[in-house]
Symmetry: D2
Subunit: 175 residues, 4 copies
């Protein structure tokens, strides 16, 4: 069961630059994480971009969509900044990504490089979900999965949750 | 979706005793791991035993089976030593555990307490699989899942794999 | 041999705020680090301030000086941001701090909370140097010690070094 | 100031073998540790042996002594198992090692490879002490230094301490 992991950046892959004290990107840590997890799943890793999701724009999401559409794999994980993860999931879901693929977005609250990160757990969850959920677009965070049209980040709690019933009915404005 | 995690010990939960240089058990690290992973899934943790799986006997497996049968949760993760994980999965599967529950066994090659462990990744995978796989008994290791009657630990590689076709036909002798 | 560790902040004690993605201070990690190092030395820890050294001004240095002058301990470690560590050492040395105390400034390039930090090593070095160097003001970084009037941070390399001979002669302008 | 670090094994350098669940040695981690600590001190690392100190015999100590005597460096750190560290320090001190060298033994209670080790702190302390203490043989543990003829490991506490006055008078029997 071939899985493609597409890295787009986010806190997941941020690193501390010790020369200037800033957080920035070098390369994705996904291969190191799979190696640490002793993964033997059939996985290829593609770096699409290395961006903070707050800086993502629609042409970035178009690029991600295009990579999904062109991927021959039926199981796709997208690592993504948490701040706009729901937005990208919504963008992909609206455009029928996931009609014949299982697409799971995940990320991290703490950079993997900082030692005590949630990233390895989240990557594990995503690898579990992506192999077993039906076709569609999902967010996998906090040990749970959410459908693209029913998820938002609660920025006060730093955790993902379903939209409220009302919000769901008007979900385009709500995440 | 309520999940019960049953801790039985294994490398997953081993610790280094700095006074005598041995590896032993104190308490399970599962709650710490869920906390590190920012899990918000509906999970309860029960410690069934704290054993190296090489020391597990059939009455230990009976106890695990009994806990599964008595659990009201439909989604059960069992953390377990890797050396006899396939054996316990087989024991449970043969006795019809998993007829109306999804039971996923997982563990680790490196103790969680040692920092660079595969345990957090494996726990994540198990949490993904247990919520989405149909009823049955499975092993989740190496980013993959295996049916109870088609898995063994390759002790040379330190990884789990399907039985060979022939082995599968005679699978009671083969793990 | 009583040692006083005065925490002033710096990268050493920075933490990642997962809610807004910034680096900031909570409390010093020095006690945790001493505990991890199984320190049994006679040490007390005082938090003087929690500042990025780029934001330190002369009244901050006056405060540090005053704490040194009022300390009854003869062995003082000051944890400090690396960017202005040489400047503070110079400030203290010029004002005769260290005339009857051994004062050692140290810090870190990577926050202790990020797992792969140099902080624990640097704290160890400082604890070694502070117990054995003669009275005076020193910087302890990179496994070495430097006199207050002969040290600067090479910001390109991210490491501390002696002033050049010429620089040394004019050292007030050179760090 | 050239420093020679002689690795002899001990908990400091033990690793977990995930295939058989035992603790054993591969190579010393000292270079990795110096790199993590951003050390720029003039240090060379020599591996003399990789032994648990409980298995060290007098011919092992003769070998260590011979390496000290033949070293051209005046500053020597010996990484060593903690269980017999006092014994080796005594062996060296009795044979006049340290007459024109500063020799510091150090080690760890937790393997460096296990993440939450005291090893990095202890190595830092030893690097501080070895550059500043007068010629002689010392043990550097728990943030402190001890003279070779006045130290023992308290195995109940897992920490080093001076001999009692009485013990000191009869110190050959007391460590």
């Amino acid at each position: 069961m071939a899985i493609c992991i597409m890295a787009t950046g986010g806190t997941f892959d941020k690193e501390y630059n010790e020369l200037d004290g800033t957080l920035s990107f070098k390369e994705t840590h996904i291969k190191d994480m799979l190696s640490l997890g002793r993964s033997k799943a059939d996985i290829i890793v593609r770096t699409i971009m290395m961006k903070d999701s707050l800086e993502m724009q629609d042409f970035d999401r178009e690029l991600i969509l295009s990579h999904c559409n062109n991927a021959k794999e039926k199981h796709i994980i997208i690592t993504h900044g948490t701040d706009r993860m729901s937005e990208t999931a919504h963008f992909l879901g609206k455009r029928n990504a996931g009609k014949d693929q299982t697409i799971v977005l995940t990320g991290a609250m703490i950079p993997y490089a900082f030692g005590s990160s949630d990233g390895l757990f989240n990557l594990g969850c995503a690898i579990g979900f992506v192999q077993t959920l039906p076709f569609g677009v999902y967010v996998a965070m906090n040990g749970r999965y959410f459908h693209w049209n029913n998820v938002r980040k609660n920025i006060t709690l730093g955790a993902f949750e379903e939209l409220t019933q009302t919000a769901q009915e008007n979900n385009e404005e709500s995440f």
